[in-house]
């Protein structure tokens, strides 16, 4: 049982770090800015896994609780950041983010 209690945080920690390293590789390698933006949310999920890992190791302590809250905050903030950034980039390129949106809308009915 002790082995499991030691192994679960390690597995979660490795998974979180791997996700974050993947996000860094994606941001570094991708050529398009919108492609790079996809990896912001991925890094947030890595932070959540690390937070859960700390919580598993510490149980519900001051560090464990705040690590979980921080990871959850980053996961929730990721899509908001991506959306706001993509919208601002579109507005920067076209003048208004609604410009040309009708061309991409699927026909109704």
């Amino acid at each position: 049982m002790s082995g499991v209690r030691h192994a679960v945080p390690s597995v979660l920690l490795i998974a979180g770090v791997v996700l974050q390293v993947t996000a860094v590789i994606g941001v570094s390698v991708m050529r398009n800015v919108l492609d790079r933006l996809h990896y912001v949310s991925l890094a947030g999920f890595g932070a959540l896994l690390v937070g859960i890992s700390i919580l598993c190791a510490e149980s519900f302590s001051l560090i464990g609780d705040k690590a979980l809250v921080t990871g959850a905050l980053l996961v929730l903030a990721g899509p908001v950041l991506v959306h706001a950034t993509a919208r601002s980039l579109r507005a920067r390129a076209l003048g208004d983010w609604r410009e040309g949106i009708e061309e991409h809308r699927e026909e109704e009915g």
């Binding site: 390690s10 912001v40 919208r87 601002s88």
Partner: protein, 83 residues
């Protein structure tokens, strides 16, 4: 070094490519790199807090998570107005 400190070291090394993108790529790509780098910095603080058993470090992580989110949103808003 325990496992938390090793993970924090890996995360801090992973900050270097983000720094490279922020310096050498365009402004829009730099913003994406800064957003990822801020998540990495928060994670490194969480790991150092657990690795060194220092509770104040986790408060830094919480505050940095909040401030980096607001800061990134501000940069995105300002970039929209920048021609």
């Amino acid at each position: 070094m325990n496992r938390w400190e090793i993970a924090a070291l890996v995360i801090m090394v992973a900050l270097l490519p983000c720094l490279g993108v922020a310096v050498f790529a365009g402004a829009a790509a730099a913003l994406a790199a800064v957003e990822v780098a801020s998540v990495l910095a928060v994670t490194a603080l969480m790991l150092l807090s657990e690795g060194f058993r220092r509770q104040p470090f986790i408060d830094l992580a919480v505050v940095l998570a909040l401030l980096s989110t607001v800061g990134s949103l501000t940069f995105a808003r300002l970039m929209e107005a920048d021609p």
